[in-house]
């Protein structure tokens, strides 16, 4: 047994928990090695002084405060399913981590901004906003020529041998509203 191996058995030797064979080997080493003898003596001494440290007594306020807190908890449990103070504290503890705190703040900012913009009509009512920067729209009527539409037949009412039903031709009219942007008030004086 060398010194490092001997050290591994110090606690077991101190607590009298070594088997006979190991105890003999350690005993032989300690008899032969003066350094380990001294180290073991110091080991014993340090363990003893640690074990003799006095117990720390609770303050006189410990029990009354605890009983008060337990009463509060009981009220919280039997009450209207409210969240107790401890639960809130636990919940808020999450935000002590920087990443959670940052995410929370970011989410809050986005929520506030979103609410503000939706109230202002910026996100969902673009036409009214764009109309504000355009001049009076000029309506242009575009008339498209009649188009013959061919459809495959679903029922056999007007079935023709070609498998194609021709509907009566009717002119399709589509109305487009083109908005003309006025640059009259632009700083370029109308030029680009």
């Amino acid at each position: 047994m060398n010194c490092l191996q001997a050290e591994e058995y110090f606690s077991a030797h101190f607590e009298d928990a070594l088997d006979y064979e190991t105890l003999q080997r350690l005993g032989e080493h300690l008899t032969a090695c003066e350094t380990c003898q001294q180290e073991y003596a110091r080991f014993q001494e340090s363990v003893k002084v640690v074990q003799q440290l006095p117990q720390i007594e609770p303050s006189p306020y410990f029990m009354p405060t605890l009983l008060q807190r337990i009463a509060e908890e009981q009220r919280g449990i039997s009450g209207v399913k409210g969240i107790s103070t401890a639960d809130w504290r636990q919940l808020l503890d999450v935000f002590r981590r920087p990443i959670w705190a940052f995410s929370g703040i970011l989410a809050l900012i986005l929520a506030v901004t979103g609410t503000y913009l939706s109230q202002d009509g910026f996100l969902f009512d673009r036409d009214s906003r764009s109309a504000a920067v355009t001049s009076e729209p000029e309506q242009i009527r575009v008339v498209t020529p009649p188009v013959e539409i061919r459809r495959t037949v679903g029922n056999g009412s007007q079935f023709r041998p070609g498998g194609v039903l021709s509907t009566p031709a009717r002119p399709l009219q589509q109305h487009y509203v083109l908005k003309q942007v006025s640059y009259a008030n632009a700083s370029t004086g109308g030029g680009l």
Binding site: E7, E8, F10, S11, A12, E39, R42, F43, E45, S46, V47, V49, V50, Q51, L53, P54, Q55, I56, E57, P58, S59, F62, M63, T65, L66, L67, R69, I70, E73, A86, R96, R97
Partner: protein, 199 residues
């Protein structure tokens, strides 16, 4: 057969609130001692001990007497709370080392005073310088314990200050018995080196 703690828990589960108070009275001192020695802060130790009992109170209906040991369950909860506290302190960079160490020096610690009077020899005169030396040694020990890495400090406190068995410590720390023994031995060796100037 149930031990007293289990019996008290069973009584509490059946509606006897006095049983819980008795449980607290039985364990408050060792628990505060454990937490204070582990986190090295007496004031916070009381808060965390209270939090431990509150958690036990809240989870009491789930406790199965006879299946687990109340003591190891209690230390397990306290250990987790302590670890959280240490993590929070490290984050806030507010880790103090000297609250417990100086707890008796400001004259507020009544128990310490009582100890001094009780331990003073009756015939020969009370020797303040001897007591001062003893106090310095206690401070040095506490400081050395506080400086140990957490994984060694925890089993050492549970073994040498709380007097738990190796099996109980393994249960609290969720470690194998061999690992627990090896960590305790390592912690004691570290402490022996730290206390070299005093012993």
């Amino acid at each position: 057969m149930l031990d007293l703690d289990d019996e008290l828990m069973e009584c509490y589960q059946k509606g006897d609130e006095g049983a819980f108070t008795l449980l607290v009275r039985r364990h408050q001192q060792p628990l505060i001692n454990f937490i204070a020695r582990f986190i090295n802060d007496r004031d916070t130790a009381e808060d965390l001990a209270q939090e431990t009992f509150i958690r036990i109170f809240k989870a009491a209906h789930r406790y199965k007497p006879g299946r687990a040991h109340f003591k190891t369950w209690m230390y397990h909860i306290a250990k987790n709370l302590c670890k959280n506290e240490i993590r929070n302190r490290e984050r806030r960079d507010k880790y103090k080392v000297d609250n417990v160490v100086d707890s008796g020096s400001d004259g507020n610690n009544q128990t310490e005073k009582i100890d001094l009077i009780a331990n003073a020899p009756a015939n020969s005169g009370f020797q303040p310088e001897v007591e001062l030396e003893r106090k310095e040694l206690r401070n040095a020990i506490q400081k050395s314990i506080a400086e140990l890495p957490e994984q060694y400090r925890l089993p050492l406190v549970l073994r040498d200050l709380q007097g738990l068995s190796y099996d109980e410590i393994s249960e609290v720390l969720e470690l194998r018995s061999g690992t627990t023994k090896s960590r305790i031995n390592r912690a004691r060796l570290m402490l022996k080196d730290k206390l070299k100037p005093f012993i």
